[in-house]
């Protein structure tokens, strides 16, 4: 069976650095941090990390009430990012209901704010009578995918990946596989997430959050740095239009890159501790799909959330595969860890690097930690021709996901 080729023909983003892709890219280019002190979070007893990277919710009222009523914060982000991506791709609305266009949008656990509100309504008196019908649709783990599909009238595959911080990468990978297999022509893929004290709290309980920079928010997170102390949660949505190559050529679409490899796997070792061997295996399999070797890779966009253990394992995995030649950077210092949206938001920035011929540095990486040495950390903007790049992700649950993208030159 001849597998189809899959290209990226549109991007859309709502991020902590702004409500569209240009503001995200500009913010990164300017070395801006979107991390801030979260007013009001002090009221949560036991919450030690009081920093976050919020995105701005705006213009949601432009969505008609009948569609808007089932959307919570993360669905608004996802719908707006998807609209941007569709507009960028030039795909026409009439094609969306052909059955050949679908969406896969992941998140960590659905609408955190809506979930919290539902419990706050129900639990004090154990009374369900004040729960609205719409609360369910705002909460569920497929809320973003469901709302995007309904709003746009999509009639193809509609799915939601849920693998915490690897959710968006798995969504992109699943979309890639569906198009490769000829099941769909176009897939709207990515992730969405919302910032909420209960989400940061979940990581805080596990001692995975940054707690030492509440008075200097923009100095954290610090991927690969000696002074790193954990992750900072962010929010937003990144959506990419994945399209069958010939389909894109026929309509003369702009092609950002071709997805040439993908793999996802479990570590089978530990629910929370990242595992270098599983990462190496995942990255190797993704490159095998792409028929490339580590020597063909020009840039690695690391997951690197600034946790002590995760960064060390990832640096070891990258060192094992790529040595100290291939530039590596993490984007978490700019926008925090957008969890279920991180794989897609960071891929969008990486595609901009590919287009502009530059590697954006790891913000807040000032002194490389001894346990993260041996790889080529990018600490200042680097003019660099990126023909092939790898996006790495891993998540609680021992889940890994890696994507390989290649520049398409003949257009």
């Amino acid at each position: 069976m001849q597998l189809k080729r899959v290209v990226i023909t549109g991007v859309g983003a709502v991020s902590p650095l702004g409500s569209d892709v240009p503001s995200l890219i500009k913010g990164v280019e300017q070395g801006k941090s979107a991390v801030q002190y979260m007013e009001g979070w002090e009221q949560y007893t036991g919450l030690r990390s009081l920093v976050g990277a919020p995105a701005e919710l705006k213009n949601e009222k432009s969505i008609p009430r009948q569609s808007r009523r089932s959307m919570g914060r993360m669905s608004f982000f996802a719908v707006q990012a998807t609209q941007q991506a569709l507009s960028d791709s030039g795909l026409e609305q009439k094609n969306l209901s052909s059955g050949r266009v679908g969406c896969i949008i992941g998140s960590t656990m659905g609408g955190a704010e809506s979930l919290n509100d539902a419990f706050e309504t129900m639990l004090p008196e154990k009374d369900l009578s004040q729960l609205t019908a719409m609360r369910f649709f705002q909460c569920v783990s497929h809320t973003a995918a469901m709302n995007v599909a309904q709003y746009l009238g999509l009639t193809g595959y509609v799915m939601a990946t849920s693998a915490a911080c690897a959710s968006a990468s798995q969504a992109l990978g699943a979309g890639y596989d569906l198009i490769r297999l000829g099941k769909q022509d176009v897939m709207l893929c990515g992730g969405a997430e919302e910032l909420h004290p209960t989400v940061t709290g979940a990581f805080d309980v596990l001692f995975a959050t940054s707690v030492s920079y509440n008075n200097a928010p923009q100095r954290t997170p610090r991927p690969f740095d000696r002074e790193r102390d954990g992750l900072v949660c962010g929010e937003g949505s990144g959506i990419l239009i994945l399209e069958e190559y010939e389909h894109a050529l026929r309509r003369k679409a702009k092609i950002y890159a071709e997805i040439v490899g993908y793999h996802t796997c479990g570590s089978g070792v530990h629910v929370s501790q990242s595992n270098r061997d599983a990462m190496i295996y995942c990255l190797r399999e993704a490159m095998a799909t792409a028929h490339i070797s580590p020597g063909d890779v020009d840039y690695v966009n690391a997951h690197a959330t600034a946790t002590v253990q995760g960064d060390k394992e990832e640096a070891e995995a990258i060192k094992d595969l790529f040595g100290d030649e291939v530039p590596v950077s993490s984007l978490k210092g700019y926008i925090g860890h957008t969890l279920g949206a991180s794989g897609s938001l960071e891929l969008i920035v990486s595609l901009a690097m590919m287009e502009k011929g530059v590697v954006y540095p790891t913000l807040n990486l000032e002194t490389v930690s001894p346990d993260c040495e041996g790889i080529r950390h990018v600490m200042h903007p680097l003019a660099w021709d990126i023909g092939v790049m790898v996006k790495n992700c891993f998540a609680f649950g021992g889940i890994n996901a890696a994507l390989v993208c290649k520049k398409v030159n003949h257009q």
Binding site: R65, S129, Q130, T132, A133
Partner: protein, 96 residues
């Protein structure tokens, strides 16, 4: 029941339609069918019940009479009946 209280029911019910369903004030007339004229559907009715419960401090989720509501006037009358035990009517052309 006083006229003021009847007016309060109309005002508070209309508030629910403006706040929860974003319906323009001008359309909020008693003869309006909440489905055909005001655009609500079955899911909205669930939320309408929740909003009315909160607004009027009543429990109506399991009240069978909710199923027969069709117009905004039906809601005014339903709430009035709850508040007065059915002893009064709210719309001038309805018999007491």
């Amino acid at each position: 029941m006083t006229t003021t209280t009847e007016q309060e029911i109309i005002t508070l019910t209309n508030q629910v339609f403006e706040e929860s369903f974003e319906i323009e004030k001008e359309k909020l007339q008693p003869q309006m069918n909440i489905f055909e004229d005001l655009g609500l559907d079955s899911l909205d009715v669930v939320d309408l019940v929740v909003a009315l419960q909160e607004k009027f401090g009543v429990k109506i989720r399991d009240d069978e009479r909710v199923r027969s509501i069709r117009t905004l006037g039906d809601i005014y009358q339903f709430i009035l009946n709850l508040k007065t035990g059915g002893a009064s009517a709210i719309v001038s052309d309805q018999k007491e």
